[in-house]
């Protein structure tokens, strides 16, 4: 069975704080994909990153970084020096390798950044 767990329902930070959003997944597949999406108040899911199961290299994009560890089945997302515009719901998702299969989402973490 495939499952994604985002244990943090809500996180509140003050601007410029660093914050890490946790994601733990379950799968028996050897090849799979992991994603992070951002959903601002407007509602649209914005794609942030895709990580392949065979590539454990961490990634940094500006203030965003992702830590993928297969040993602990985790794919955590860190925002450095958070800003008010980072306030959103963040979803972690898992996908099997077969084409056309759907994403399996975690329940999301609501991040509130205050000034």
């Amino acid at each position: 069975a495939q499952k994604v767990t985002q244990a943090q329902t809500e996180i509140s930070v003050v601007e410029k704080e660093d914050v890490t959003l946790d994601c733990v997944y379950e799968t028996r597949d050897t090849t799979y994909y992991l994603f992070w999406y951002k959903q601002p108040p407007s509602g649209e899911l914005v794609f942030l990153i895709r990580r392949n199961s065979f590539d454990e290299q961490n990634e940094i994009s500006g203030r965003y970084s992702w830590n993928f560890q297969k040993s602990t089945s985790s794919f955590n997302f860190t925002i450095t020096a958070s800003q008010v515009v980072d306030s959103a719901v963040y979803f972690c998702a898992l996908k099997r390798a077969q084409a056309g299969t759907a994403l399996i989402f975690g329940k999301g973490t609501t991040l509130s950044v205050s000034s």
């Binding site: 509602g43 649209e44 979803f91 084409a99 056309g100 994403l103 975690g106």
Partner: protein, 114 residues
Amino acid sequence: DVKVTQSSRYLVKRTGEKVFLECVQDMDHENMFWYRQDPGLGLRLIYFSYDVKMKEKGDIPEGYSVSREKKERFSLILESASTNQTSMYLCASSSDSGDRETQYFGPGTRLLVL
């Protein structure tokens, strides 16, 4: 840029009405998906389609049907809307080539059934 559009951002319908939610993508994607999003439950897959006229049930297909007559358009149909179908509906598409794993989402339709 990938563009997925949905026919309405907000919709109010009455119980028992037939409701059509339309989704159009302009990237020639083979796969299209319908999800619903509810507080505390995250996103759940209703139906998806991997080709014209093809459809597969997702996790929660009851009370819904879909139609895909053209590659770019995927419609979600509520045959007889009920109050428990009040939700946010999100459409997504993905390709079978290139970056075939990433799904791109539309802006969503917030449906209220009274």
